[in-house]
């Protein structure tokens, strides 16, 4: 349980980090489209706590949470989002293409399903080299609409590649999160796990707001995968944060208030229902509180600490120079 308190802290860090990203964007500190991970924090932490840093990871346009959970330097990520010279990829990728090559997150495609065959290719390299690594491949429910997804399922099943496909279905109403079928408006399948079955890939549904459930499932599947059983597919279900409904992320209802853990009804109307039913921070906080592991004061203090850390991250990132104009033409090609 005290470990879970640490998980709560990390979720809170992610949340405050992304609230800061929204604020920075609204202030004009960076341009371009971007996506936040709010509401999905438990999924990334649960999954990535189950695999060692020696495994590869591929993420998507919605990568902040994956990178933070993976252990990437928050200042490096913030600097990347701001296009600064100390960004994870030199300020050249921005939020869309934030990656962490040194942490085995080699590159980030922001095209839907762009990363899926790439993950399989890396798994092929692993298999050929005979190490016991695996590849974690994140994508959204939208990727299951792309042909590249199916082609890759077929190939990776045939070649029994060590990939964990972690599909985050972030549009599921709360009651459907844990189990049963859940139809999507843009997919004919009654459940996304059904579509991998014909390829002989085992499909699993998990509540993506439940850190422990995700961690346990991924631990088990990673072991099977490492054993040579071939790919596994997980549909982690979360419910869309109201701030992510529009074309652009918006701090709907204001920043998260830790008091909502005790009193979700106190949240502004726009986010009230979501906070009560679907916010992984609230859900975990309530569990810890019920177990006597968390009190309002403790959480408030945790939050203060985290806010301070995030403030430092923002400050340090903002203090960096923009990625320099002089470097614009560099790295189109690698030197021989």
């Amino acid at each position: 349980m005290s470990a879970l308190r640490e998980v709560l802290r990390r979720m809170l860090f992610m949340r405050r980090f992304e609230e800061a990203v929204i604020a920075l964007f609204e202030r004009g500190d960076f341009e371009g489209h971007y996506h936040v991970y709010i509401g999905q924090e438990a999924t990334a932490l649960g999954a990535l706590d189950a695999i060692p840093p020696t495994d590869y990871m591929y993420t998507t346009h919605r990568n902040h949470g994956h990178l933070l959970a993976r252990g990437a330097d928050p200042t490096g990520l913030m600097a990347e989002i701001l296009g600064k010279v100390g960004g994870l990829v030199g300020g050249r990728g921005g939020s869309y293409h934030a990656a962490w090559p040194e942490g085995l997150v080699p590159v980030t495609s922001a095209l839907v399903a762009g990363n899926i065959p790439q993950a399989a290719g890396t798994a092929l390299a692993i298999k050929r080299k005979g190490t016991d690594q695996l590849v974690v491949c994140w994508f959204g429910d939208g990727a299951v609409e792309e042909g590249a997804f199916y082609e890759t399922m077929n190939l990776s099943a045939m070649w029994k590649l060590p990939v964990l496909y972690l599909c985050e279905n972030n549009s599921v109403p709360a009651p459907y999160r844990a189990m049963g079928q859940y139809p999507s408006s843009t997919h004919a399948a009654r459940s996304l796990t059904d579509v991998v079955a014909p390829f002989g890939i085992p499909g699993h549904v998990v509540d993506g707001t439940d850190y422990e459930a995700v961690r346990q499932l991924v631990t088990e599947l990673a072991a099977r995968c490492r054993q040579g059983d071939g790919p596994q597919f997980v549909e982690a279900r979360t419910s869309r944060w109201p701030g992510s409904y529009g074309l652009w992320p918006a701090q709907t209802g204001g920043p998260f208030d830790v008091r909502w853990v005790w009193e979700p009804a106190g949240a502004p109307e726009e986010v009230r229902e979501w906070t009560a039913s679907s916010d992984p921070i609230v859900l975990l906080g309530q569990r810890l509180a019920a177990a006597g592991q968390l009190d309002p004061e403790g959480l408030s203090q945790l939050d203060q600490e985290v806010k301070g850390e995030v403030a430092t991250v923002v400050e340090e990132a903002l203090a960096q120079e923009d990625a320099p104009a002089a470097q614009t033409l560099a790295h189109v090609f690698a030197d021989r």
């Binding site: 960076f30 341009e31 371009g32 489209h33 296009g83 030199g90 300020g91 050249r92 990728g93 921005g94 869309y96 293409h97 495609s109 922001a110 095209l111 839907v112 399903a113 762009g114 939208g142 990727a143 609409e145 792309e146 042909g147 590249a148 408006s185 843009t186 997919h187 074309l247 652009w248 923009d322 990625a323 320099p324 104009a325 470097q327 614009t328 033409l329 189109v332």
Partner: protein, 326 residues
């Protein structure tokens, strides 16, 4: 004449064409993209909801569905949102739609419209900023439409809907808020007729889409600062291409700059250069200059993006360079 934004003028044209053409459908429809002016299309969404098919993220199937629907008599508009995503479906555009009429010896028509927004947007980085005009022009059988003004958007849209051929209609998110006087009833604008955006004597500048406005700004700059008189021409459609208007202009000015947001090598500017040097050899006073994106992916970093961008300043600089030719 009422003043309208590009988005408003295009929306009005959508309304007019849907009214006139019951077979006009949209799979899906995301006009205006992420622009704040996307909301100007609300009247269209409200009135013609039954013409719009929400769709999964399945570019190649959607483009192919457009081909098959057009063949069987619909006027489908396949909206791939950003031109960058067209790569996912391009096999159906350049190797299916483009070939249908020719491969059937003129027996089958395929009047599908592919719609996308094209052009470099701030902060969109390498993968979301692809400009495909050149790839498409390199694929015979497609009409290519790039409207650069509110009236052109409205008028060219009408012609696209009436076209018997596969047509790629690309607008630009940054143009959505551009305002101009637009006739209450916009007539269809024939394809293959360039627009002389601005007359001038000394230098011709050819540009499309968002670059047209930048070329005009460059022209104003150099006229003020260096008394160089610049003619700006927007071909409006790449296929068919109005070579004559450009040739006439270059015969007069003897100097040409081509400014374009496709990547330099094998880009749109290269083609304009290749045609004009052949037709206007004797009239040209010096080599044609290109102002394009360099052969570099688009960086996210703001100062780096500024290095690659096609700007009024760079166009002005090229104009000053060619103006020195005697």
């Amino acid at each position: 004449m009422p003043t309208m934004t590009y988005a408003e003028a295009l929306c009005q044209s959508l309304l007019d064409t849907c009214e006139a053409e019951p077979n006009l459908i949209f799979i899906p429809a995301a006009f205006g993209g992420l622009s704040p002016h996307a909301k100007s299309f609300a009247p269209f969404y409200a009135r013609f909801r039954d013409r719009i098919y929400p769709a999964p993220i399945s570019e190649i199937a959607l483009c192919g569905i457009g081909v098959g629907a057009a063949i069987a008599g619909l006027r489908p508009v396949i909206d791939v949102l950003s031109a960058s995503f067209l790569y996912q479906g391009i096999a159906q555009v350049v190797n299916e739609a483009a070939n249908v009429h020719y491969m059937t010896d003129g027996k089958t028509r395929c009047p599908v419209i592919f719609h996308a927004m094209q052009g470099v947007l701030p902060g969109e980085a390498a993968q979301h900023n692809r400009c495909l005009s050149a790839e498409l022009w390199n694929s015979p059988g497609l009409e290519i439409v790039l409207p650069a003004s509110p009236e052109d958007a409205a008028g060219l849209w009408k012609t696209a809907v009436a076209s018997p051929n596969p047509t790629v209609f690309m607008d630009h998110q940054l143009l959505m808020g551009m305002t101009a006087e637009v006739p209450a009833h916009v007539e269809p604008i024939p394809f293959g007729q360039a627009r002389v955006v601005r007359s001038g004597r000394d230098v011709t500048v050819v540009a499309t889409l968002a670059v047209v406005e930048r070329a005009v700004r460059a022209a104003e700059q150099v006229e003020a600062s260096d008394s160089i008189s610049v003619e700006v021409i927007d071909p409006r459609t790449l296929v068919p291409f109005d070579e004559e208007t450009i040739v006439q202009s270059v015969r007069k000015t003897g100097r040409l700059v081509v400014a374009d947001e496709t990547i330099r090598s094998c880009g749109v500017a290269a083609e304009v250069v290749a045609r004009v040097q052949e037709r206007c050899w004797g009239d040209l006073k010096g080599p044609i200059q290109r102002v394009t994106l360099p052969d570099v992916p688009i960086p996210f970093s703001r100062p780096q993006e500024a290095v690659v961008a096609v700007t009024p300043e760079k166009i002005a600089q090229a104009v000053r360079l060619v103006a020195r030719y005697q």
